[in-house]
Point group: C2
Chain length 286, copies 2
């Protein structure tokens, strides 16, 4: 995924910056339900929050690399949730912030949508409350989950333009099975649910007794708020409402028909726009 | 439902017009899986199409009432699918047409969404391939189905504005259980699936070998195409693409944050706009 965003001559240029890329808790590469030894793994894995990720990342960059400040914190989707958490939790440390296609406080609509995603998995009898013998036991639930991602993850315009064909898939079935299901089927059901629980409860106002205005008011970073124009999870209007509460922020929506999953990088124009905004943000004196 | 749209002083005024309101096949009031005696009922009920509805309605109005033409055919959602079917199938008979929040040819996005809705029900082990002992056996699947309707049926703005509270519900849980689930839970699972199958395959181009332009080109009715501005099932852009193919049509989107389910009539402004457009359409000489 990072290859989409990082490279020589790009805004995030490894020749120019010391770039730290972290995997979030539960994503299958970091500590996750599926790779935690019993009895703490699988259905017993604890609930974790965005704040747990950021606290671990903070320890990592301060204790391992002795960093005192970060020129930019950037991330998409749950990475945007982490970006906001960073900027609110460590306002003096974060100089610039670029939350892409995500919110500081998850909306009730997004909470509900994520609940339907999770239930597609947990309702499979093979899920067995998280103690399946093999992820293959949850195959049907995972396929339903992948379909629901297809419905909301892109946009109606995406399908109207038959973008799935432009991406090389002969039919909707081909796209669902070989792209959407292919993407998720290598992931562990409990890992997905760990992330879903965390995603649902992303909320920087936990630091301020539920006062979102006060939480976002803490941010000292120069911030570019960058929703995807056709995102059905984190629509521009929800992101714009938060942007208004951030002291030094610009609203920089990305024009795309690829919806939330423009994050996959299939729309070169969206990635080009992102790159341009990030270059500008990094060039801003703070 | 018809009380929302019909009344003295309204566009659809029973003092002024002879108004025929029909229930569609499978809706639980007309012939449906749950009220068809065995062995043809329940999971054995045949697949039916929008064309079957319209053919039955045609026989009804011509044989029962001896009507030669219809001043207006109007309907929302699957009623819009039927409206398009009427106008394409019987172009000389339909003088005016008002498809509201629906399409002439269902989109692949909408097909996929409806599939996820249907699978919420069929994946419940209690569904038993349509031969449950009681709808209560499918309670969990029906609740998942209701939640998915809540996610897509309204709009993100609806939830951002907390419209569910304005409608009298104290919380999202209250809204899901007592409104969404309350609405669907009195319906029979097989009936819902009968309608879903039909909805997915609504397509007037079945009359013209798959050529949508040719099918819509047949329409002689003065037509007002009326999507809901925030509809996630049948978004304005999808309706607009069809509007361009209809010889004598106007594009009249309804501004609302209630999404597809503005059809429920909870937004008085949306109903007011509809009424105004329908009055104008009915006043148009044809």
């Amino acid at each position: 995924m990072e290859q989409i965003y990082i490279g020589q001559g790009r805004a995030l240029d490894p020749d120019k910056y010391f770039i730290v890329v972290v995997n979030q808790i539960g994503n299958g590469l970091s500590t996750s339900p599926h790779n935690t030894p019993p009895p703490a793994g699988m259905g017993n894995f604890p609930h974790v929050r965005i704040g747990d990720d950021v606290l671990a990342q903070y320890k990592f960059v301060t204790e391992k690399f002795d960093l005192k400040s970060l020129a930019l914190v950037v991330g998409g989707s749950m990475g945007a949730q982490q970006t906001y958490e960073w900027a609110v939790r460590y306002p003096d440390m974060v100089k610039r912030a670029a939350p892409i296609a995500g919110t500081a406080k998850n909306t009730i609509h997004d909470f509900l949508f994520t609940e339907t995603l999770a239930e597609a998995i947990t309702s499979d009898p093979g899920f067995n409350k998280g103690f399946y013998a093999s992820p293959a036991d949850v195959r049907e639930g995972m396929l339903r989950h992948a379909k629901m991602w297809a419905v909301m993850g892109w946009s109606t315009e995406f399908f109207q333009q038959e973008r799935h064909k432009a991406l090389g898939f002969s039919s909707m079935d081909d796209f669902i099975i070989n792209f959407m299901n292919g993407y998720f089927s290598v992931m562990d059901p409990n890992d997905l649910l760990c992330m879903a629980w965390k995603w649902q409860r992303g909320d920087v106002s936990r630091h301020t007794g539920g006062d979102l205005r006060a939480a976002l008011g803490r941010i000292k970073a120069k911030t570019f708020v960058m929703p995807m124009s056709s995102d059905m999870f984190f629509p521009p209007s929800d992101c714009q409402a938060e942007w208004r509460l951030i002291p030094d922020a610009e609203f920089r929506p990305i024009q795309t028909v690829d919806g939330h999953l423009a994050l996959f990088g299939a729309d070169p124009s969206a990635i080009g726009q992102l790159d341009k905004h990030l270059s500008e943000l990094l060039a801003t004196k703070v």
